[in-house]
Symmetry: C2
Subunit: 437 residues, 2 copies
Amino acid sequence: MTLKLRQLNTAAADFEAEFQRVLHWSAETDAAIETRVAEILADVRGRGDAAVLDYTARFDQLSADSLNALELTREELKAAFDAISPAQRAALTAAAARVRSYHERQLEACGRSWSYRDEDGTLLGQKVTPLDRVGIYVPGGKAAYPSSVLMNAIPAQVAGVPEIVMVVPTPRGEKNPLVLAAAYVAGVHRAFTIGGAQAVAALAYGTATVPRVDKITGPGNAYVASAKKHVFGQVGIDMIAGPSEILVLADGTTPPDWVAMDLFSQAEHDELAQSILLCPDAAYIEQVRASIERLLPTMPRAAVIRASLEGRGALIQTRSMDEACSLSNRIAPEHLEVSSAEPHRWEPLLRHAGAIFLGAYTSESLGDYCAGPNHVLPTSGTARFSSPLGVYDFQKRSSLIEVSEAGAQKLGPIAAELAYGEGLQGHARAAEMRLKR
Amino acid sequence: MTLKLRQLNTAAADFEAEFQRVLHWSAETDAAIETRVAEILADVRGRGDAAVLDYTARFDQLSADSLNALELTREELKAAFDAISPAQRAALTAAAARVRSYHERQLEACGRSWSYRDEDGTLLGQKVTPLDRVGIYVPGGKAAYPSSVLMNAIPAQVAGVPEIVMVVPTPRGEKNPLVLAAAYVAGVHRAFTIGGAQAVAALAYGTATVPRVDKITGPGNAYVASAKKHVFGQVGIDMIAGPSEILVLADGTTPPDWVAMDLFSQAEHDELAQSILLCPDAAYIEQVRASIERLLPTMPRAAVIRASLEGRGALIQTRSMDEACSLSNRIAPEHLEVSSAEPHRWEPLLRHAGAIFLGAYTSESLGDYCAGPNHVLPTSGTARFSSPLGVYDFQKRSSLIEVSEAGAQKLGPIAAELAYGEGLQGHARAAEMRLKR
């Protein structure tokens, strides 16, 4: 069966319309889900543990007498770690070490308090402190990703969060040993086998058993995404994740099979995932297409990959690499591979992307698991305004202001003038009271 | 008329219940507002300029033939600046200079790209870039704050945002000259006299006249807050602001009139604003109460201040300054004054606050207008997980990863092991293809 993979050319008259069709992604929420989620949130807020137990029994076919019974002990997590294969243990441990090392650099680069005194002796600055308690949502069931445990928990740990609470649904009680082992390696403090909107509600409001957290991070299905958006404000959230995407910007120097497999590695996530190739070289695009056709039947998840490539994928021929960079900025992809012999020539032109993978050896999958940077990245063009999950997501800042007596004399009249202009006499007089007579 | 200002004592048996009543603040949204806002957003998304004009005529009693007619030119902004009093011009300019200087330090402290290479020559880091275009919402009508223009626009400008679009409603066409002058001083690029949910929609979706932005910041009424929450995901937003609050932590060494006026300066914002004093010294609390009673009748906004203090204010006697610090952390106030002779003794104990004002000379109002730090701060306890508006809100980060050939040999087997464990063979094979045979 031939693959119906869309091919575009920026020189074609209908390019813009075709391109818009490729980009189109409706993030519209399903009203039925919204209503259902609002009910679940209100119920958990009102009935606490009992409501969480009810929904867990109903949605996950997992019954328990108390929520305590759904807490995983540190011993269970350790037992899972001890029970996986030595190769898996080594891989998890190595990945965790690299992720930790990268996020420690991130903490150094932007996570420290700072202050200075001006010429009047007035101190100004910001104090950076970790959040007290965070919740990380880990999907369970058909897409259980131990790597997501590392990517969410380790930045929180590096930020200095004293209590990391993980929730992970375990449909019919089936626990994923790699997820539990990852929680052990990442240093998760508490873990509950609950999921869905009910788990988000438990974390946001707190129940008798589940402690209320300050922020919830981590991906989930439509119910989880809707619940996170609902509780935003009550607690912090990281982002609302859409389907995953990869954009490969190729100059034709990377083996075509590598690029084909990189496109697959995104498409295999789910039918809505998006894989796009931008390349100025028509012959190379044909080589990648041939690789795709040849390799696709060898993939265990071929059906998902085919659906994703046919539904949302595209091979786009551009006039030049420069034009490819411009188009990439319009897409603002989650993952951006610069599969070029000159990656540093193009990188400065790339303004919007969750993560930029430079050079032929940097497959997205290396970054997904163990290069070090986070794999929780802004999707659906939100890289225009948001950032990878990082240490900074588990910190907050407080401004520090200590106005000296001399400073108060200088600042008082300015503040008073502006405050009177705004009709706020209390503000003005508070400033004026600090003036020497 | 005696002021009915709640007084609590942490040693009292009913303290916890009373304290919960003081803290209680329902951020529940009004379902009628939600529905109305959803309709406005959908209408602006569908009809663009025409819908914005309709709502502006209806809600602001301001009619125009085209949205172009509602754009303020740079000349109009300059004319407003030229027309205000010399004292106002000087105050605006001085405040802007200090705010800019502080935010430039913030950029230096945490806004730069960074990268490093590991022992295999693999490059890892983050590239920090400004957003392309941001929208700042400035309230109009009864509470028009030129200082908010500076506090929103200057961090965006310091971050390097090339296009800052301001929206400000002008009910019945009445423009606030100080707001226009502040826009001139702050370097706003474009400005429209539109407001409400329709302005938020225009910025989030774009219309023929109003350009689509990447992020919307700035405070507004319940409609604006609801609209911002709705469009979150489509664009970035700063935060959902609740009523403003001040917490004064006093050791009894500051003149009581100063503290009373600082409490007023928050209470005068609106009836829902909250002013709380925490102090271990009963006699000093009585002095502050006497100052409040004496000064209140002298305030032009006495009615608002009274309503706010009686409805949500409190004087709380604590056992010690240490206990006061603990309570402060539970409140996580927007503004926290450490009105003490030893502010640096207590500051390290304070974990959650939008801004911390140290020492008797640091009235909140100096910080609100011109000390330098931002006055857009997390309210309603959200300082537990969020931060003052800053340069970082107008930047985003992209991870940089360049795996060397040697690095790919080391990382490939780790990534493949984990990918097979997650059932993602495409990921595994993409890593394995980079291994040398």
